[in-house]
């Protein structure tokens, strides 16, 4: 190796190291967003399951058919906020705001058609769609937004 080549190697290292660190920061941030998305999705799943597990007891006793409780959508919203709390530090707004703005629809009797998604439900269902803003400061190095919006969808049917 000559002295000139040595200098080239040093320059290459100086140029490549910041690039490597920027890519590393981007990869770590992407991993963090995926983890938050997973957790938020799980929170939405649990919220809709809790909501559909609460049946209209009077209707069940009278007719033997499954029918969701009148407050199923409110229950899903409440439990979505409760379960989302674990990821609160990673979110750009409060869990209460996210839960309040979530589109939660209850389909107490079946069959029914979800106008927003076009899905037909054959059983009483609770459907939740929420936009979750996640803090992504690491993306600033890549000239990307420091808040990344992820959309969560969940639906549970009674059985």
């Amino acid at each position: 190796m000559t002295q000139d080549e040595g200098g080239t190697a040093a320059v290459t290292t100086i140029v490549m190291l910041p690039l490597l660190l920027i890519v590393l920061a981007g990869v770590l941030e992407l991993g963090a967003v995926r983890a938050v998305a997973y957790r938020a999705g799980a929170a939405a799943d649990l919220a809709t399951i809790v909501a559909v597990n609460d049946q209209d007891q009077t209707e069940l006793a009278r007719t033997g058919t499954l029918r969701l409780a009148a407050d199923a959508a409110d229950t899903a919203r409440d439990y979505f906020a409760r379960n989302l709390s674990a990821t609160a530090p990673a979110l750009a707004v409060s869990v209460t705001e996210i839960a309040a703005s979530a589109d939660i629809a209850s389909f107490p009797s079946a069959p029914s058609l979800d106008q927003r998604t076009g899905v037909r439900y054959d059983r009483p269902t609770v459907r939740l769609i929420a936009s979750v803003p996640v803090r992504t400061p690491g993306f600033a190095m890549l000239f990307m937004p420091t808040v990344t919006m992820i959309t969560i969808r969940a639906a549970s049917s009674a059985r």
Binding site: M1, T2, Q3, G6, A9, T13, L17, L24, L28, G31, A35, Y38, R39, A42, D45, L46, I49, V50, N53, D54, T75, Y79, R82, N83, S85, A86
Partner: protein, 131 residues
């Protein structure tokens, strides 16, 4: 020293040393944090299922503890290292029931640090048992 560097061998040794000092901690950091994230997600999945089951049982019951232990083993976590909390111990119908799992995980990055990280997972379900 100057001659040693000029003939190439010294420079290669120097570059290799620098690369080892930078790349080895970087590699171990990726492995350790990836492993930690995998453990956290696995524990989180168990917590969610445990909360659902706690809601069905109406509280902290031996069946729930056995279920959590079995699920932790299935995802490769030693149950004896996990602290399980269920609040309240007896949940009334429609009452929130919270299940929390906590584990202390040791991570070590060569040349940088070694520390213990507490991994916490919490899920809230609702009491479904109408006593």
């Amino acid at each position: 020293m100057t001659r040693w560097l000029r003939d190439g061998h010294g420079m290669a040794t120097l570059e290799t040393t620098l690369m080892i000092v930078v790349l080895i901690p970087l590699l171990f950091a990726i492995l350790e944090f990836g492993w930690l994230t995998q453990r956290w997600l696995a524990q989180d999945g168990v917590t969610l299922q445990a909360a659902r089951y706690a809601g069905e049982l109406g509280g902290d019951r031996p069946e729930l503890r056995a279920y959590v232990q079995e699920q932790l083993r299935l995802v490769g976590i030693e149950p004896s290292r996990v602290v399980v909390q269920v609040e309240p111990a007896h949940a009334a119908w429609r009452e929130p029931i919270r299940v929390s799992l906590q584990t202390d995980e040791r991570i070590a990055v060569p040349f940088l640090f070694a520390t213990t990280v507490t991994v916490r997972s919490t899920a809230v379900a609702r009491g479904e048992l109408n006593r």
